[in-house]
């Protein structure tokens, strides 16, 4: 039965024939990719950013701007969510056929909530980095203090030993 074999490995291995004797005779590995690259027909980018809501086609309910007050916006979105759930319950009682618009509104609020929380992640990453640096500085200072103390103790012991030897 004929089956397709796997493709052969790329022929670059011949270039590395003399690698053990002369490491420079073989080509360098390719440099890391920058910018956008094509992978299996899809475009990927090496620059990690959170896509804004408009890019995903979702309306943004909280005000845009450089510094968004996250706590205030999260709380007001929570309040609006409760109101919309109540509205949905009311609509189901009185005009049951108009539920779709209300359900859409509720899902819009949820998408905004999740997007706000996701945009807090870079802030969290930076805060974690600050915390790690502070811990490292503290540990290094502690190590410096320890080394200084031990050196002084060693000096003291040596002086004592010299004194004992001369006293003999």
């Amino acid at each position: 039965m004929a089956a397709a074999t796997y493709p052969p490995p790329p022929p670059y291995y011949r270039l590395y024939k003399d690698y053990l004797q002369d490491p420079k005779s073989a080509p360098e590995p390719p440099p890391p990719v920058e910018g956008t690259y094509l992978c299996y027909g899809g475009n990927y980018t090496t620059d990690d950013v959170i896509p804004s809501l408009e890019d995903q086609g979702v309306r943004q309910l909280y005000p845009k701007g450089p510094n968004v007050d996250f706590k205030k916006e999260l709380r007001s979105l929570n309040r609006e969510l409760q109101l919309h759930i109540l509205e949905l319950a009311d609509v189901l009682v009185e005009r049951p056929s108009q539920y779709a618009r209300r359900v859409e509104d509720i899902s819009l609020i949820f998408k905004n909530l999740h997007h706000l929380l996701n945009s807090l992640r870079p802030h969290q990453a930076r805060a974690t980095l600050i915390h790690i640096l502070e811990l490292q500085i503290q540990r290094r200072k502690q190590a410096v203090e320890d080394i200084k103390r031990r050196r002084e103790e060693a000096q003291k012991l040596l002086k004592e030993a010299v004194g004992t030897l001369e006293g003999q």
């Binding site: 450089p66 510094n67 996250f70 706590k71 999260l74 709380r75 929570n78 969510l81 409760q82 759930i85 949905l88 319950a89 189901l92 509720i106 949820f110 909530l113 999740h114 929380l117 807090l120 992640r121 870079p122 802030h123 969290q124 930076r126 805060a127 980095l129 600050i130 640096l133 502070e134 490292q136 500085i137 290094r140 200072k141 190590a143 410096v144 080394i147 200084k148 031990r150 050196r151 060693a154 040596l158």
Partner: protein, 137 residues
């Protein structure tokens, strides 16, 4: 779990509670009379009546509790300094301080290693002396 993940889980909990509440109400609500032309709707089958009255209360209480929990978590967010620039500036400061402390640590380490070498050499000489293996200079 960190607070942002807790917040995200709380949002998901709110969503599932809302979903369950509306769905249960819609499924269990007894039929209601729409117009006087049609006869009275048949009475609901022998479901315990307390359940149908209690369920909305319990579910809405759970929903409100989850929303309050969300508000509490939002209040607990440690969002102290404003802005990305303040954080980046602090990171640069901390890196400079880290480098300085690192260099001092390196210096101390080198001095300590030198002293250790000296002490080991002296100790070798003293023991050789004691064991009379080498004549003292």
């Amino acid at each position: 779990m960190d607070i942002i993940s807790q917040l995200q889980e709380q949002v998901d909990t709110l969503a599932s509670l809302a979903f369950n509440t509306i769905g249960t109400l819609q499924r269990d609500a007894p039929p209601v009379r729409l117009s006087s032309n049609y006869p009275e709707p048949p009475p609901p089958p022998a479901n315990p009546a307390e359940d149908i009255a209690e369920q909305p209360k319990q579910m809405s209480a759970a929903l409100v509790k989850a929303a309050k929990q969300f508000d509490a978590l939002v209040t607990a967010l440690p969002l102290s300094e404003g802005g990305e620039e303040a954080q980046l500036k602090r990171i640069a400061e901390l890196q400079a301080e880290n480098d300085a402390v690192g260099q001092e640590l390196q210096k101390q380490l080198e001095a300590a290693e030198k002293e250790l070498k000296q002490v080991v050499e002296l100790f070798g000489q003293a023991t050789d002396n004691c064991l009379n293996l080498k004549k003292p200079d």
